[in-house]
């Protein structure tokens, strides 16, 4: 309560970032510069080690055992990748798509303070897995090609219990479009009905 009522943020020293070498390192370093975060050539206290790579698996491999990244910036984050990251002690995993300097700065500060941060869909899938390993489908459906943004948005709304009319209104499209998107989704996820499609999507970490 006292923390919430505090007018001013306590001024902690700003963390520096140590970027692990890799193809995406220059872009990340430049973005850190824009975010006002100084980079350091060495890891150390007060420094957050950051790795950028296409996948979590690649990013984890980037760091030597003595030079573990604390923050990963990845193009794709699968549930398995997230599990690996948490296993090796990385608590902050960021998707690179649409990443802006303020978001990156917030993530570096968060990692410095040990906040756990990760994409929702991958986390939700991991939690499903953690609590109910016994009832996993015997043969989990093969991971399909990634969904489009619109398909994901429709699935998200379906998973929150909305019907076509509300989905159409929320996404500013016609109900006809929503029906088409759902039709595509059913085929793509090999689902028999809406509940089935939503269950697949949650289990695959798509939403």
């Amino acid at each position: 309560m006292s923390a919430l009522l505090a007018e001013r943020a306590p001024q902690a020293p700003a963390p520096r970032a140590h970027v692990l070498a890799g193809p995406a390192a220059p872009r990340l370093t430049s973005m850190l510069g824009h975010a006002g975060i100084a980079t350091s050539p060495h890891p150390g206290s007060g420094t957050v080690t950051v790795a950028a790579a296409p996948s979590v698996e690649d990013a984890v491999r980037t760091g030597a055992a003595t030079d573990r990244p604390q923050l990963l910036v990845c193009d794709t984050v699968t549930p398995a990748g997230l599990r690996l990251a948490l296993h090796v002690g990385v608590a902050a995993v960021l998707r690179s798509a649409g990443l802006t300097p303020p978001h990156l700065a917030a993530a570096v500060h968060g990692a410095h303070h040990g906040d756990g941060r990760m994409p929702y869909a991958a986390l939700a899938q991991l939690l499903t897995d953690a609590v109910s390993p016994a009832v996993r489908p015997a043969a989990p459906p093969a991971a399909p090609a990634p969904l489009t943004a619109r398909q994901t948005a429709v699935l998200d709304l379906m998973a929150e219990g909305h019907g076509n009319a509300v989905i159409a209104r929320t996404l500013h499209c016609s109900e006809h479009t929503v029906k088409n998107v759902i039709y595509e989704l059913m085929a793509r996820l090999q689902a028999r009905n809406r509940a089935h499609a939503v269950a697949h999507a949650v289990r695959l970490g798509l939403i």
Binding site: L4, A6, E7, A9, P10, H103, A106, L127, A195, A199
Partner: protein, 212 residues
């Protein structure tokens, strides 16, 4: 440095609400909006992208509040700040769509604003010890708090997992040797208890909350 994220605050306690707003006013990356004020012409949009919800515990009333918040215009992401969070609470809050869970004593201005920024991107923020507990749990929602303690009964779980596998009422009745009426009643009980809208909602919620 990019547009500040429009954020609003809901709390049952007006002192906490005012305190949280003044905390957020001090954060440059966010801008505090009132949920029911129209956007000034040329000004920032009135629709918050993130809502900070301050609660004591996460129980049924808070679950309803979270859902109601998610259903407002713009479908804001919810950052939940609670005095106390058990792993069971956390699972239910995440299943209901919360994107960040913070303990009140840890929710200082920098952490709150980081959680808001993360939520605006669809990322989840969790205290690391809570995340550990969530991932190392075994057994379904065994330590869930009072209102959710029972989780699902054996019968409810078997019916709902068949729903999740795409089966219709008649098939479920046949396979489990129940009447169709029983199957419908079981599904109805689940949706009533967790305030769910339909079968798709029930399946997603149950999977994410670890009830299935």
């Amino acid at each position: 440095m990019g547009e500040p994220v429009p954020v609003s605050v809901v709390a049952l306690d007006p002192v906490l609400e005012a305190g949280t707003k003044s905390t957020l006013y001090a954060c440059p990356d966010v801008t505090v909006t009132e949920p029911d004020t129209p956007g000034a012409p040329g000004g920032p949009a009135a629709e918050p992208r993130v809502v900070v919800m301050i609660v004591d515990r996460f129980a049924r009333a808070e679950l309803d509040m979270l859902r109601a918040t998610r259903d407002t215009a713009g479908r804001p992401a919810v950052v939940l700040v609670a005095s106390d969070l058990t792993p069971g609470d956390a699972l239910h809050a995440l299943a209901a769509g919360a994107r960040a869970l913070l303990r009140r004593r840890e929710a200082d201005a920098p952490r709150l604003s980081r959680a808001v920024l993360a939520a605006a991107r669809g990322d989840c923020t969790l205290p690391p010890d809570l995340l550990d507990q969530l991932l190392n749990r075994s057994g379904a929602a065994g330590d869930a708090p009072g209102w959710a303690a029972a989780g699902l009964s054996e019968r409810e779980r078997s019916v709902l997992s068949m729903v999740a596998d795409g089966h219709e009422t008649s098939e479920i009745a046949q396979r489990l040797a129940y009447s169709q009426r029983t199957v419908t009643t079981v599904v109805h009980d689940i949706t009533q208890r967790f305030r769910l809208r339909n079968r798709a909602h029930a399946v997603a919620y149950a999977l994410r909350a670890g009830l299935l």
